[in-house]
Symmetry: C2
Subunit: 193 residues, 2 copies
């Protein structure tokens, strides 16, 4: 009865977004060195031992087998580096046909979705809003609110993660605060692949 032992329930909500979970990833500012526009400010903060927690991911991953799905919750803390809101690193999937489904649970934000040509869309996420991330697009989540941004994700367990491309190129747009509101602006540092 091996299959049935693999059935499980999880509770959504609370401090970790999903419980129980099997894997926790924590990303502080020092893990996102080079990602934010104001690199001088980042260097200054880190030299003063100010290393804020940017986001956490709690996951229940499955073996990397076609047909299986990973589930997890991402929690992005509220905050900005200069005028740029806290965000996740962002990645493509290694398996180019793999899509992903997000469901907002708490807070508000934008999901940047960028294709291989650098065209970017910003999709709003908030509780009970689902965002479908199409295949072969990079996706980054940005907390534009005053509290935590918490969302649930489902994606094929064999999708794989390519963080390197975005680490090298960045996203073509940045999400910054202007007059107390989030705005998408062109990223002058964006390097086309």
């Amino acid at each position: 009865m091996a299959e049935l032992s693999a059935a499980f329930s999880s509770l959504l909500g609370g401090a970790t977004g999903i419980s129980p979970y099997r894997v926790k990833v924590e990303r502080r500012l020092s893990h996102l060195s080079g990602y934010f526009q104001d690199e001088n400010l980042v260097r200054d903060m880190l030299s003063r031992r100010s290393d804020p927690k940017i986001y956490e991911v709690y996951e229940s991953p499955q073996p990397e087998v076609d047909g299986l799905l990973n589930i997890g919750c991402t929690i992005i803390y509220p905050g900005k580096i200069g005028c740029e809101y806290f965000f996740t690193k962002g990645h493509f999937h290694k398996k180019r046909s793999a899509c992903e489904v997000y469901i907002g649970m708490e807070g508000e934000g934008l999901i940047l979705i960028q294709n291989r040509d650098g065209k970017v869309d910003g999709m709003e996420i908030r509780p009970n809003v689902l965002v479908f991330i199409p295949p072969d697009t990079a996706h980054r989540s940005v907390n534009t609110g005053k509290g935590r941004l918490v969302f649930f994700a489902v994606y094929p367990s064999d999708a794989g993660h390519d963080y390197e491309t975005i680490e090298r190129t960045g996203f073509a747009k940045v999400v910054v605060e202007r007059d107390d509101r989030p705005v998408l602006e062109d990223n002058p540092e964006y390097r086309r692949v």
Copy 2:
């Protein structure tokens, strides 16, 4: 920018569970002829033109391509045929490695999960409870509450549906009301594959 045109948002909740949606399936008692235990009662109801709506499914399906995910909501109305709660037909996936993820949104119920040997588990579902349905198991959803049971589902778009096996064998357990409470009992009509 073909990929980006495929990004979309949906709102969860409300009458249809998800909006917008692309496909609606409606299942009345007459569509589930042969599924409930009390066949005399079913015949009698249908002869009296009583054909209650048992459930609806609202979906946004994708092309059947490895890596893509279908999303949808199932709404099971409250009610019983005799002492047996309203349920969905239940199916295996044709692609045996395909799993499925359910998230409860409204009401309460049981997800019957049955492996190829006829071993059955009943997993509770209610708002903010996620149920992971492992590969190669048949799954049926049962509304054991007083109101609608609404849950959200994500599964690989190339999973396929095998309804025929369950139509032939049934589930090894039925969910019936005893002393005002849902109970799993052996199904005397169950035919091993």
